[in-house]
Each structure stands twice: as structure tokens, then as C-alpha cells.
């Protein structure tokens, strides 16, 4: 993956570079790729659609099939799922997945307007709500129902900023204190600046191979033990309960069934913390903590490094950054390094199972991957 933050390159340049380095790391030439799956949801802001053939051409494989997959913030985990299906079906042996985004050429207002197109525009954006606002409305409901507090939200941000300090790829390398959190400007009540992920540029790539091929390539492997997707009603007003995301719950249940493990067997998790409340809800939806108890678990350090389940060791979307289409693949990158014990200061000792949870918009699309260390 690239360093997240502000990048000079276009999405096309950055996605090509990370794709080539992922293939090199796997010991492969681009020529060995059977199909490529790319995500670049906001490519239109760079006046570029249909990025697949451009990347394939820069990789020297214009004849290979490529497809662009858009699923808002969950685009590249959705792309990963499609690649997984291609391999599991026997159609392909090697697939390339890459996601990237460039947003830094947009003002905050422009980016906010583009992002609002991922909501149910006719009912949500039209009434003046932004993405921070939608998740803020979810937070207000969660606080009202379960007594989740502002300090619990703060603890998620503080932890993720701390984790990002030891992630060289992270966008924000800034230690956060509770005081600084409480002094930061309000964006959408109850969110302050530090409840929100930043607008980031960046790219990430994953190479997926059939078991047989993978064994020829490497001794140390990470297996996709489950790749599951599900959906929820897109529009918050139609949900029975907005204090959870039922599509994420369903994708999680399907993934645990497929991997034949229970939530307690996960050693490290990357979850979709576009806003602090989203991490709390994710840890509840996935069954790591009881409904309504995610905030308490966070403030007590259960999700910190050294806690019962380290969550977002990469710094999460909050501090690693959220270049929309790069996020899903970047979560898998973090788990890959964790499972191969390559995470340096933020290593979870002896991690065997990792889980990635990636949602599009407010949870209309949900992907859960479970990765397993193979020796």
C-alpha cells in the first residue's frame, strides 16, 4: 500500500505502483494475473472513469480482463470478494485487487458534496445532512439508548491515533489527548473534529491466489477463511433500529460460520471506524461485545493493543486515513502483516485469526473477511 495522506500522483499512477509492488512481493509478474478488480469510487473527481484498462496497460497486461467495482467506502473489500469468488469457482488462479482514491485536490465542501452522493441523496443529502451528520445521528441514538458517552467516543479516537503513530503508512501521526479532543471544533453534534476520519489520498493492493498456486509462491501464507457480504436498508429513516447495522451483523455471522470459528477466536480486527461511533457499533455487530457495551469496552482498553481484542492496530480510518476505495484492501494489508508477525511496535503477539469489517456508506453494503495464518 502507499502512504496515506496527500499524494502528488493521480489514482491511476498510485494504484499502478501499489499493484506492481504487491505482485512483486508475491513473486509474480503482472503477466500471471488472470483477472483484475479495481476500485476508484471518486475517479470522476479526477475526470477519469474506466480506470481498469489504464492500470492494466501500465502493468503491461492490456489484454487481461479488468472491472471497476463501486460500493462506496467498502469498494475494495467488495472487489476482494469478487476476486475470491473467481478463485473459489476455479475460473482463475491469480487475481489482483487494488483500490485507490485522490481527494486532496478537492476543498472540504467539494469533497463533502461528492461523499453525500453515497447517502440516499433524495431523502438524506437533500435535507442538509452530510456523512459526519448521518453517523452523528446514529451516535445520538446510540447514546440515548445505551448511555454511550462522549468520553467513550473520545477513547476510540485516542487509541486509533496512538496506534497510527507506529504505522508508517498512516495519514495522521499525531498523539491525541482527551483535552485536545474536547477542545476540537464541533463538526456535527456530538462529533468533534477528532471523531471524524480525514479526507485522505492513497492506494492499496492485494494479490489473491488459489491454494495450489500460493503454495508454489510462498512458504508463509495467509488464507482467506471467509469472504462474506450482506446488505442493509440504505436509508436511515427506513431502519427499524439505527443503533446497529444489520447487514454487518449478517455478514459477520456468515463469515464466522464459514470460517468455523467464534468471535472470541479473533486475535486482531480492523473495523470500519469512519467515525468513532462506527467502531463501537462494529464491535457490537460482530459479537465481540454485547449490544450497547462497545463504548465501555473501548474506554476500558479492551480494544487497545494489549487488550482482550486489539481493534484497528493500523490506526483505523480515523488516523491511518480513509481514501475511500483504498480502505478495504488496506485493512487486509494490516491483517496480512499482523498474521505474518511483521507489524513491529503494533504487533499482536501470535495472532492466528484476523477479521476485517468494511461498510459502504452507513452500512447499505457490508463486507467481512476472516484471514487465517497458514504455516
Amino acid at each position: 500500500m502507499s502512504k496515506f495522506g496527500k499524494m502528488k500522483e493521480s489514482s491511476r499512477e498510485s494504484m499502478s505502483a501499489v499493484s506492481l509492488s504487491a505482485l512483486n512481493d508475491a513473486g509474480l509478474s503482472p503477466r500471471e494475473v488472470d483477472s483484475a478488480f479495481y476500485s476508484n469510487a471518486f475517479g470522476i473527481t479526477e475526470k477519469q472513469l474506466h480506470i481498469g484498462p489504464l492500470i492494466n496497460t501500465s502493468l503491461g497486461i492490456p489484454e487481461k480482463p479488468s472491472i471497476a467495482i463501486e460500493s462506496a467506502c467498502s469498494s475494495s473489500s467488495a472487489a476482494m470478494h469478487e476476486a475470491y469468488i473467481h478463485i473459489a469457482s476455479g475460473a482463475d488462479d491469480i487475481c489482483l485487487v487494488a483500490g485507490g482514491e485522490k481527494l486532496s485536490h478537492l476543498s472540504t465542501m467539494e469533497a463533502t458534496s461528492y461523499f453525500a452522493m453515497g447517502s440516499d441523496y433524495a431523502y438524506e443529502a437533500i435535507n442538509g445532512v452530510t456523512f459526519p451528520g448521518l453517523y452523528a445521528a446514529i451516535a445520538v441514538a446510540h447514546m440515548n439508548k445505551y448511555g454511550t458517552t462522549q468520553k467513550m467516543l473520545a477513547s476510540v479516537a485516542i487509541k486509533n491515533h496512538e496506534n497510527a503513530l507506529s504505522n508508517p503508512h498512516a495519514h495522521l501521526h499525531r498523539k491525541l489527548t482527551e483535552e485536545a479532543y474536547l477542545e476540537s471544533p464541533v463538526v456535527a453534534y456530538p462529533f468533534r473534529l477528532y471523531d471524524c476520519c480525514p479526507f485522505s489520498d492513497g492506494s492499496s493492493a492485494v494479490v489473491l491466489a488459489s491454494e495450489e498456486k500460493a503454495r508454489e509462491l510462498k512458504d508463509e501464507l495467509v488464507e482467506v477463511a471467509a469472504s462474506e457480504r450482506a446488505g442493509s436498508v440504505a436509508t436511515l429513516q427506513e431502519r427499524k433500529d439505527i443503533t446497529g447495522i444489520d447487514g454487518a451483523e449478517l455478514a459477520g455471522r456468515k463469515a464466522f460460520r464459514k470460517a468455523k470459528i467464534s468471535p472470541s477466536e479473533i486475535d486482531v480486527a480492523e473495523v470500519h471506524d469512519c467515525f468513532t461511533i462506527a467502531e463501537i457499533i462494529a464491535t457490537e455487530d460482530l459479537g465481540f461485545f454485547k449490544k450497547g457495551k462497545g463504548g465501555e469496552a473501548a474506554i476500558q482498553g479492551e480494544t487497545a493493543l494489549g487488550g482482550s481484542l486489539p481493534v484497528n492496530t493500523s490506526g483505523g480510518l480515523k488516523a491511518k486515513g480513509h481514501p475511500v476505495s483504498a480502505t478495504g484492501a488496506a485493512q487486509l494489508h494490516e491483517l496480512y502483516e499482523q498474521l505474518l508477525q511483521k507489524s513491529g511496535n503494533r504487533q499482536v503477539e501470535g495472532a492466528e485469526y484476523g477479521l476485517a469489517h468494511n461498510v459502504g456508506a452507513t452500512g447499505g453494503s457490508c463486507t467481512v473477511h476472516i484471514l487465517k495464518r497458514r504455516r
Binding site: 472540504t108 465542501m109 463533502t112 458534496s113 453525500a116 440516499d120 441523496y121 433524495a122 431523502y123 438524506e124 443529502a125 437533500i126 435535507n127 442538509g128 445532512v129 452530510t130 459526519p132 451528520g133 448521518l134 452523528a136 445521528a137 446514529i138 451516535a139 445520538v140 441514538a141 440515548n144 471544533p185 464541533v186 463538526v187 456535527a188 453534534y189 456530538p190 462529533f191 436498508v233 436509508t235 436511515l236 429513516q237 427506513e238 439505527i242
Partner: protein
């Protein structure tokens, strides 16, 4: 496609009603979410209800750039479905709470404007 707002007139808000089972849905649909009937008709509701959740935006969206801070509300209508709306001039959470009675009061552009209900219930 039109949103909920293109049809809201005179204190009424446009929704979708199932001609078979009577379910009312606020969001565009071609089937009934209760019985899967495709006999969906447009209907208009009175537009008063209670705040189910809300937020107060200090960093506004483009169309409301001159109006911050303001509230975005999700409102459970007394007639039985849930809609989204906009409230002018709400600047702090002391001014709005879950459960507050609000009523639809027309449109601002394409947004559905809600106001706090003034006495009488």
C-alpha cells in the same frame, strides 16, 4: 425519480401506501415491505410526529452553507412511518431532544422543513 419532497404541499408530506395491506413507507419503493405487493399508491400524511434521532451540523452541506448551525432530524410520524427533515436555527443540543414533538411546515428548496410543535399537542 423524485424524493419525498417534490409532492409535499400545505403541511402534508408525500409517502407510499400499499393498496393491499395498508402499510405506509416513506422511501421510494415498488413493492410493499410487509407483504411484497406491487400495488403501491402515493399518499399524503399530516406530518407531525416525534424526533427519533437528530444531529446539529456546524459544518454544513453545500446547499445549506449559509444556514449553519442547523439540525437534521429523523421523525417518526404519528401516522406510522419515518421521514427525514431539516430544522432551521437549532444551534445546540439543549434546544432539541429525542422524543420532541415536531411538525412538517413545508419546503426549503427540496428539503422538508420541520418545526417544533408549539403547545396544544
Amino acid at each position: 425519480m423524485s424524493g419525498q419532497n417534490t409532492g409535499g404541499h400545505g403541511g402534508r408530506i408525500e409517502v407510499y401506501r400499499c393498496a393491499d395491506c395498508g402499510s405506509v413507507m416513506a422511501t421510494f419503493t415498488v413493492v410493499c415491505h410487509s407483504c411484497m405487493s406491487a400495488r403501491i399508491e402515493k399518499a399524503a400524511l399530516g406530518g407531525s410526529g416525534r424526533v427519533q434521532t437528530f444531529t446539529i451540523l456546524s459544518v454544513p452541506s453545500e446547499a445549506f452553507a449559509d444556514e449553519a448551525p442547523y439540525a437534521y432530524v429523523i421523525v417518526r410520524l404519528h401516522e406510522g412511518c419515518t421521514v427525514s427533515g431539516w430544522m432551521r436555527g437549532v444551534g445546540s443540543p439543549a434546544e432539541l431532544a429525542i422524543g420532541d414533538e415536531v411538525e412538517y411546515s413545508g419546503m426549503r428548496g427540496q428539503a422538508s422543513v420541520f418545526k417544533k410543535k408549539v403547545s396544544g399537542g
